[in-house]
Amino acid sequence: MSEKPLLDIKNLRVTFPTRQGEFEAVRGVSFTLGRERLGIVGESGSGKSMTGRAILRLIRPPGRVEADRLELEGIDLLSLDEKAMQKIRGQRISMVMQDPKFSLNPVMNIGDQIMEIYRFHTGASKKAAYEKATEMLEAVSIRDPERVMRAYPHEMSGGMGQRIMIAMMLVTEPEILIADEPTSALDVSVQTQVLSIIDRLVRERGMGLIFISHDLNLVSAFCDRILIMYAGRIVEVCEAARLNEATHPYTRGLLGSLPRLDEPRKRLSVLQRDADWRETESVSGRQ
């Protein structure tokens, strides 16, 4: 990729103090994000969600975020004050979380929530915001946006709620969307639908997408490039289409441990964790 990356991250670290000493959740991760779909895959505790949150500086003290470089198109995100960061969040980088139930305000109707975000970031008039919000709901394949605008979050199903979250996060037309397990709280049949919406919007708008998930197959089908994380480090970087050629034993182990509908196995292979994986230097995902 020759063009300048949207996001440039070098040696990112997230540290939490504990009684047993410092705990490093993310230990020196480097990658860049262009106008592409980047998948970050790992198991719980691998630091994948922490990486996503660290980019938006959403790590609460006493947790610390450090990096040699954390830049959004040349802007150093680490040196910004909280107010400037507030502007970046939502306006230039948005995040969709796992469960829409916890991300939507239950006592505010959906239209007001979307409009509030839009007006906060753009200062647009109420009328313009209303139009923008309906347009956005249409974009996430909601058939009757006017009605949904008046509805409250509890009246929505899980898949609907997640589509609304996506609409809300994209209404300010950010350059980067960070999606943290956006479909794992949803039923299988709804997952495909939500994913194809994210996919279409990201393509149409030429955004960068960071897709965080534990599901290797899903990420390989959905993204262009994959970072595989283990114990706070990147153990392997590969093209999504060539996931089957992955070489790291951890990646291979993850692939082998999945039961598959199309190929029966007598026993699932169990991942043998190697202490060395933890210690080997992080692979760079920079391009």
């Binding site: 504990t18 009684r19 047993q20 000493g21 410092e22």
Partner: protein, 308 residues
């Protein structure tokens, strides 16, 4: 990676282990972790410090108190603080206020301890039974609770003391009777959320009877929030006891109960401010200490907190 305490590394590591080797070890490690959380809360430690200090004073009152709290000296009545031998002055009968405060701490602790056992105990029993069994039992028990809650607390206590007769034991009883309904409410609310959880279903699937589920599985989870509530309520209990004392329905003269001391001092409040102020300050300090400790305990005892 780990920073170990250099003075006693072995004991600290033993207590901070993730792999306890016996029941005793596991319990000690859990206690130590709670202690560390509490210790990191400065305000809670101040509260705990004050209460320990009060406990010591109450325990060693006869040795600490400079004088007999009941000894009158009509010649030296209403002496201001700092007068020779009377650091906090004397009251209308010439009794040393400091000594009376020191002995009064025994009465205060006595009342507080009894109320802290009776009221949450009754509340826990009523609340968990009501919440777990539900149906008619729940309706009846909760309506009874409502009746108690419908009266202002001090008025109800007054009515009970008036019926039972004045005195410390009756004051304790009256305060407890008026204090249990909020605990029942809390315990019931907790029980309702716990009742449907998977771990309760799991013990039901082992054929456990309701009595066992309530006492062994639900109580341990309710008790922590009750303890927090008790410490926060203790200030109110002290004040209620003082209020009853003040109205002459609690501790009877000449016993040095703090509330009764304020009541006596009221007559001279303009000329001899210290007579009412000193016990007032004592009540204030102890109430504050309980509140601070309660806040800290809330962090330690919250079962949702993972521990690591």
């Amino acid at each position: 990676m780990s920073q170990t305490d250099t003075r006693k590394p072995t004991l600290r590591e033993w207590l901070l282990t993730d792999t306890p080797t016996s029941r005793f070890h596991a319990r000690m490690a859990a206690l130590y972790n709670g202690w560390l959380t509490l210790r990191s809360n400065t305000m809670a430690m101040i509260g705990l410090g004050i209460l320990l200090f009060l406990l010591l004073i109450a325990a060693f009152a006869p040795w600490i108190a400079p004088m007999d709290p009941l000894a009158q000296d009509l010649g030296g009545r209403l002496a201001p603080p700092g007068t020779d031998g009377h650091i906090l002055g004397t009251d209308s009968l010439g009794r040393d206020i400091l000594s009376r405060l020191i002995y009064g701490s025994r009465i205060t602790l006595y009342i507080v301890t009894l109320v802290a056992i009776i009221a949450p105990g009754v509340g826990l029993l009523v609340g968990t039974v009501s919440g777990y069994i539900g149906g008619w039992t729940d309706a009846i028990l909760m309506r009874i609770t409502d009746i108690f809650l419908a009266f202002p607390r001090l008025v109800l206590a007054l009515a009970f003391v008036a019926a039972l007769g004045a005195g410390i034991e009756n004051a304790v009883l009256a305060i407890s009777i008026t204090a249990w309904p909020p605990y029942a409410r809390i315990a019931r609310a907790e029980t309702l959320t716990i009742r449907n959880s998977d771990y309760i279903s799991a013990v039901k699937l082992q054929g456990a009877r309701p009595l066992r589920i309530i006492t062994k599985h639900i109580w341990p989870l309710c008790i922590s929030s009750l303890i927090v509530r008790v410490t926060l309520d203790m200030a109110g209990v002290i004040l209620a006891a003082a209020g009853l004392g003040f109205l002459g329905l609690g501790a009877q003269p000449p016993s040095p109960e703090w509330g009764a001391m304020i009541a006596e001092g009221r007559r001279f409040i303009l000329d001899s401010w210290w007579v009412a102020t000193m016990p007032g300050l004592a009540i204030f300090t102890v109430s504050l200490a309980f509140n601070l400790l309660g806040d800290g305990l809330r962090d330690v005892l919250d079962p949702k907190e993972g521990g690591s």
